[in-house]
Amino acid sequence: MTQHHHLVDGGPVIPNFGHGSDCLRNNGWFCTEWVKEHWGDILQPALVQHIELTVIAVSIGFAVSFLLAVVGFRFRIFDLPLGAFTDFLYAIPSIALFQLLVPVTGLTVTTIEIALVSYTLFVFYRNIVAGLRGVPPDVLESARGMGLTRRQTFWRVELPLALPAILAGVRVATVSTISIATVAAFLLYYGLGGPIFDALQQPDIFRTELVAAGGLAILLALAADGLLTALQRVLTPWNRLDR
């Protein structure tokens, strides 16, 4: 019975689900009791912050890109420099960009948002311009033939026809932002990156916290992707097969 000496009085030992469970002592990959205990004080707040970070970054990024894309679309000479500018921003490694902004905006959420917004421009700009350019010339001819002004043509013809490409851009930008936003915690404990970095900084790497927070980031990205795909179907019913 030596291998069973933890069995006291011959009965099964009811495991202690407090702080020192077997799972946690062995640094298990997913200890449900830790997740349950810290859902309220660690995981849920981080998830909410992460959603906020993403929604704000994608919204501002979309607004800025839309203006840039309209300029690049209307005035072709600006297209190349604007495209190169968004390329350049995208090529700056995230850990560097976060740090480089600190002297300007400090260790704040604003710093994180500026970096995230600058990364969304790359995806948005390309997709919006490509979408607007993709409108067939004969469609524009008929619009002109019907007597639509330049402005009316843009809002009633070009923009609706570019919608599938634009929405595809929103999907890609949202999913990528959710992923990149986890790096922000390198700078500031905020969003799902917070518990991820916290787990990684512990001597043996706290696996449960890493897997729980990382898993939430993946689930959030997939949920956002599913939601935006549904939105795409509703908004562009004529384009069911377009991804």
């Binding site: 850990i95 560097a96 480089l100 790497i205 993946i218």
Partner: protein
Amino acid sequence: MIASLFVDTLRFIPDHASLLLQKAAETAELAFTALGIALAIALPLGLWLGHRHRGLSLALGVSTIGRALPSVALIGVGIAILGVGFWNNTVALVVLAIPPLLTNSYFAVAGADRDAVEAARGMGLTERQILTRVELPLGLPLILAGIRIAAVFVIATATLAGIFGGGGLGDIMANQVTYGLEGVLAAALCVSALALLTAALLGTAQTAAFRRMAPRA
């Protein structure tokens, strides 16, 4: 303040040229090892699935999941399994590089002109010949575009390895205390240069591939 940062950075680069070169070589080694392994896995799989017109949902799903994976957490899981060092980062980067490679090679081959493929089949070409002589040349630009996307992404992400002792330019970027903000900026510029140079090389290959196909198309 910003002006002085640029002056300091311009001074940092020549002063630490050998350090930057050494770290850039480490980043390149890490990124290109990962890219090579990812190519060896994703390319044959994508080409084969695309040729058979099978696994469309796999090709699409992999690209979405690939974009959704948080690189920091992935590198973390790599460390937890393999310990700190070169291989955990390599494995994480391989996982991140596979989706764009797989998806693009799938659609490159699956999207090849059906009539051309049918004609080749009618001429008595074997399936392997159809893949290598018809579908592959037709899809080459798209395959190269996928390699370009993956390469830039892997180089940029390889810097995250620095946070976890993976070496490379990320070491400098994650150590503002030692190298100062000018070091961070200098290392970032090196990463961007490496990424843009790689993209330009692959872009040239892509243009060449387009040109080669133009007379036939």
